[in-house]
Amino acid sequence: MRLVVDLNRCQGYAQCAFLAPEVFAMHGDEALLYDPNPVADGEADGELRGNVTRAVAACPVRAILLELADGHAGDGPGGAS
C-alpha cells in the first residue's frame, strides 16, 4: 500500500489525522506529515488498512491518493473543484 498526498490540494482540514493518527500527523496547524508506505506489500494489517481507507474517504478535498499493491489506484482526485 502506497500513499501520496497532493499537497497542492491539501487544505489542512486534518480529517486524515483524526482517523488514521498512526499514518498522518499535523505538524503545527497546517503542515501534514505522513507515512507513504504504512503497510508493507504482502503484509495484512487489517486495522491500519481500514483506518487509511477511512482517512482517504474523509478528505474533503480528496487529496490522498492510495495505491494498492496490485497497482490499482483508489480514490484519486474527484472532478473539478
Binding site: 482540514y13 480529517q15 483524526f18 498522518f24 499535523m26 496547524d29 481507507t53 474517504a57 472532478g79 473543484s81
Partner: protein
C-alpha cells in the same frame, strides 16, 4: 418559479421529499423574492461562498431579519450565553475553534477520536442487545431505541457528562433544535420563552459540571477545556459554557438524522443493505454518499454579507441574509453525475454535507465513525428488516431534517 418556493420548502407536507423543490430552486441559482433572504442552491456557488471571507456567520451583521422566515428574533440580547464559534467570524471564531480543537484532535490530541472506536462499538452493541432482549420484533422504533440514544451517549462521554444526566439533555437538545426551525403555528413569544428556559437550564447544569471539573479534572474534554492552557490562553467559564452547549446540540441532533436517514435509505435499497451485511468496509463510502444524498443539515440559514457581492450574476447588498441550501447543491447535475441516484460506490463525491471552509463540521470525524459503525452493525444484526411506514413521520424541522420515528419489523436479531 413560484413566488413562495421557500414557504413550500418550509411547509411540513414537503418534509419527506423536498428534492423536487430543490430542483426547481436550482433553476434560479440565487433566488430572491424582493424582501426575503438570498437563497443559493447550486454546488459551485455554495462552495465558493463557504470559502468567501466576505460572508459572515455573525447574526449581528444582518441589516434586517424582518422578512427572513428563519431569522431568530432578538436572540442575541435575550440569551444567557455568548455566541459559540458557530456564530462568530475570525478572529474570535479561529481562537475559540483552535482552543476547542486542542483536546479533540490533531496536532495536540491526535488519538482522542480514534481511541473512541472501542467505546462506540460497545455503545452500539449495548443498544442492539437491549432491543433483542426487550424489543418487539413486530415493531421497533429505530429512532427511539437506537439512533437517538447513541449520539447523545457518545457526546456525553466525550465531554464527560455523567450517564445518569443524559435524559435531561434530550429535552434541552430537542427544544434548542426546534428553535432553529420556523413553526408558523407556534406562538413566537411562547417559543422564545421555551428556548430561553432550555438555554438557562442547560447553562446552569453545565456551570455546575464545569466547577466540578475545574476542581477535579478527569481527562475528558470539559476538564481539558476548563484547565487548558495554550498560546490562546484559557477559555472563560462563559466561553466553555457556549462551546459545550454547541457540541452537545450540534453533535447530537445531526448525527441522529444521519443514522436514521441512512437506515431509511438502506431499507429503500435492500440490495445495498445486503451488501453492507457481508462487506462492512462498504460503510465508509456509503456514509459519504449519504452525506451527499440525504444530508442531515439541509441548509445553512444564518450567513450574511459583509460587503456588496455578486453571485452568479446577481448583486447581493451588504447586510443581506443568505441561505446556502447544501442539500440542493449536493444534487446539482452540473457537479454530480446522475445526482438523484443513491450510489454507495460513487467515487466522485465531494459533497457539501459537512459544509466546507472555516466552519466545516467540527465533529465530522466522530460523526463519520458513529454512522459507519451504526449502519454496518444494524445491517449485520437485524434479520430481514423492513419498513412499516414509508415515508416515516418526520420531525417538524426543515433545516435539521430527519424522521421523528422509524418503525421497522424484523424476523430476529443476530448475536
Amino acid at each position: 418559479m413560484t413566488q413562495d418556493i421557500l414557504r413550500q420548502i418550509l411547509d411540513y407536507s414537503n418534509r419527506a421529499d423536498p428534492y423536487p423543490l430543490y430542483k426547481e430552486l436550482r433553476r434560479t441559482p440565487v433566488y430572491h423574492d424582493g424582501s426575503g433572504p438570498f437563497v443559493v442552491s447550486t454546488y459551485y456557488e455554495i462552495q465558493a461562498l463557504l470559502h468567501d471571507p466576505r460572508i459572515s456567520s455573525d447574526a449581528r451583521n444582518l441589516a434586517s431579519a424582518a422578512d427572513d422566515p428563519l431569522a431568530e428574533p432578538g436572540e442575541e440580547e435575550e440569551t444567557v450565553l455568548p455566541p459559540s464559534f458557530l456564530k462568530l467570524d475570525p478572529p474570535e471564531h479561529d481562537r475559540l475553534r483552535r482552543m476547542t480543537n486542542r483536546p479533540f484532535g490533531p496536532p495536540h490530541s491526535p488519538h482522542r477520536v480514534h481511541d473512541m472506536r472501542g467505546d462506540l462499538h460497545d455503545i452500539v452493541k449495548g443498544l442492539i442487545d437491549k432491543i433483542a432482549e426487550n424489543g418487539n420484533a413486530e415493531r421497533i422504533d429505530l429512532v427511539e431505541e437506537f439512533s437517538y440514544p447513541f449520539p447523545v451517549t457518545v457526546i456525553c462521554r466525550l465531554l464527560g457528562v455523567p450517564p445518569e444526566d443524559e435524559a435531561r439533555f434530550h429535552v434541552w437538545a430537542d427544544t434548542l433544535a426546534a428553535s432553529l426551525d420556523p413553526d408558523p403555528d407556534a406562538d413566537p413569544k411562547e417559543r422564545e420563552r421555551r428556548t430561553h428556559d432550555s438555554r438557562m437550564e442547560l447553562g446552569m447544569y453545565l456551570s455546575g459540571l464545569i466547577e466540578e471539573r475545574r476542581k477535579n479534572p478527569t481527562g475528558d474534554m470539559l476538564s481539558e477545556l476548563v484547565t487548558g492552557n495554550s498560546p490562546d490562553g484559557t477559555m472563560t467559564t462563559m466561553e466553555v459554557l457556549s462551546t459545550a452547549a454547541l457540541l452537545l446540540i450540534a453533535g447530537h441532533e445531526t448525527t441522529v438524522n444521519l443514522i436514521t436517514n441512512g437506515m431509511l435509505t438502506l431499507l429503500r435499497h435492500p440490495e445495498v443493505l445486503d451488501r453492507l451485511r457481508s462487506e462492512p468496509e462498504l460503510s465508509v463510502n456509503l456514509v459519504e454518499e449519504l452525506l451527499r444524498y440525504e444530508p442531515p443539515v439541509q441548509l445553512v440559514p444564518q450567513r450574511s454579507t459583509l460587503a456588496d457581492i455578486e453571485v452568479a450574476g446577481v448583486s447581493i447588498p451588504k447586510g443581506a441574509s443568505l441561505w446556502l441550501v447544501l442539500a440542493a447543491g449536493n444534487r446539482d447535475p452540473l457537479r454530480f453525475e446522475d445526482p438523484d441516484r443513491f450510489d454507495p460506490d460513487r467515487e466522485d463525491i465531494q459533497h457539501l454535507g459537512l459544509g466546507s471552509g472555516i466552519h466545516s463540521c467540527f465533529g465530522a470525524p466522530l460523526a463519520r465513525q458513529e454512522a459507519q459503525l451504526a449502519l454496518s452493525e444494524l445491517a449485520r444484526r437485524l434479520e430481514n428488516p423492513r419498513l412499516l411506514a414509508d415515508p416515516p413521520p418526520y420531525r417538524q424541522n426543515a433545516v435539521l431534517r430527519g424522521p421523528r420515528h422509524l418503525p421497522i419489523a424484523v424476523d430476529g436479531i443476530r448475536p
